[in-house]
């Protein structure tokens, strides 16, 4: 339930009227029987006992309030002023410190970023180098293999050639023997074979 200002004001007014009404009732009831007519006589002026007592009472009240109200509260207000001032000062100091730290952090961050960039650049360069090296090595190796393989092929060809020569020589001898019907001498044999081989080899190659 929303209660607005008017509600509280009316409650306050009603309370005041009720309290005051009750007070009047009590005032009326406190008189014994019928309330006498007020005489309205002014008080005696110059009652020195009342004057003296009032002065004493007033200064007692002043002393009491001084002890229990003005002194402690003024002291407390002063203390609060000091506290607030020191708090503000402290806050200012902390603010400055934080700003300094922020600056430092930013500087650190920038440095870190730079460093990171450097690291990345270095790593990239290293990777590039490694790549180039690997490629070069691979190429070199491949070349080596190629050369070796070529050499082997050449050797194998040579050998095959030699073997073919020998085989064809033996075949030729066998064919000549059959043709001549006799064994030929070692000398003829040799001569013929060499001749044949040379011719045949030239043809073969």
């Amino acid at each position: 339930m929303i209660r607005d200002k008017r509600f509280y004001l009316s409650v306050l007014l009603l309370t005041m009227v009720m309290v005051l009404g009750f007070a009047t009732f009590c005032m009326a009831a406190s008189g014994s029987g019928a309330i006498p007519e007020p005489a309205g006589e002014t008080p005696v002026f110059g009652n020195f006992f009342v004057i003296g007592w009032t002065a004493v009472n007033f200064f007692v009240l002043l002393a009491l309030l001084y002890k229990f109200a003005f002194n402690p509260i003024n002291a407390m207000l002063d203390q609060r002023t000091t506290t607030i001032e020191s708090s503000l000062k402290h806050a200012e100091e902390v603010r400055i410190e934080v700003e300094q730290m922020k600056k430092e952090t930013q500087a650190n961050l920038a440095e870190s970023r730079k460093e990171a960039q450097e690291i990345v650049a270095r790593a990239t360069k290293a990777a590039e180098d490694a790549k180039t090296e690997i490629i070069n090595k691979a190429r070199e190796e491949a070349d080596n293999y190629k050369i070796k393989a070529k050499a082997e092929i050449e050797a194998a060809t040579e050998q095959a050639k030699m073997e073919l020569k020998d085989t064809s020589a033996a075949l030729a001898i066998m064919a000549a023997e059959k043709l001549l019907g006799r064994a030929i001498t070692e000398e003829d044999h040799k001569k013929m074979v060499d001749q044949f081989v040379n011719e045949a080899g030239d043809m073969l190659c």
Binding site: L20, S30, P38, Y66, Q79, T83
Partner: protein, 227 residues
Amino acid sequence: MIFGMHDGVLFNIGPIPVDHLVVTQWVIIALLGTIAFFATRNMQEVPRGLQNAFEAIITWANDFFTQLMDKPHVAKKWAPLLTTFFLFILVSNYSGLLPGSATVDGFQPPTSNWNVTMTLALITFFSIHVAGFAEHSLHYFGHFVSPSPLMLPLNLVEEVAHPLSLTVRLFGNIFGEEMVIAYLLFLAPFVVPAAIMGLSLLLGAIQAIVFTILSASYIAAASGEGH
């Protein structure tokens, strides 16, 4: 024997008679002292409850008197006295709203007796001159013959008029208010006086404020520049 407004002796302490309204003052002092005691018993840096209320009153009074007087150190020196005037007169005036006040024999607000208001006004009177003397020393007495010695009688009358006006204003207002309530109670005992009592709530506060402000301005005038 007058109706309620009877300034009579309640008892004697040795040869000294103690009037009814002196006892009422004691009750008022005890009440204010007790409230002050409990307000500042456990002072805390962050105020709460009663301490807060009392601090608010005193801070407000300090600020108010500082604004009223052109010298802050004078305001600081006299603020306790003036605040005590205010609290004492306020509670005295409001004691007239208690049931039985002005109908019970001898029970009346102390401020409805002009012996009491005169005492308060005399305290103001002496405070004015003490404040003036403290601020300007012997030069202070120069203002009695300013702008020319011919003005001396008029200046003296003015000095006497200050406490006299304070006395009669406070006494007249509160006494009159009490009498009006007493007569209304006599004529129509129920509810009808409530309207006047509501008004006297306002009146009591206004008279306390007026007495305090006038005292403060007299002190400010005596201690300020121009002497």
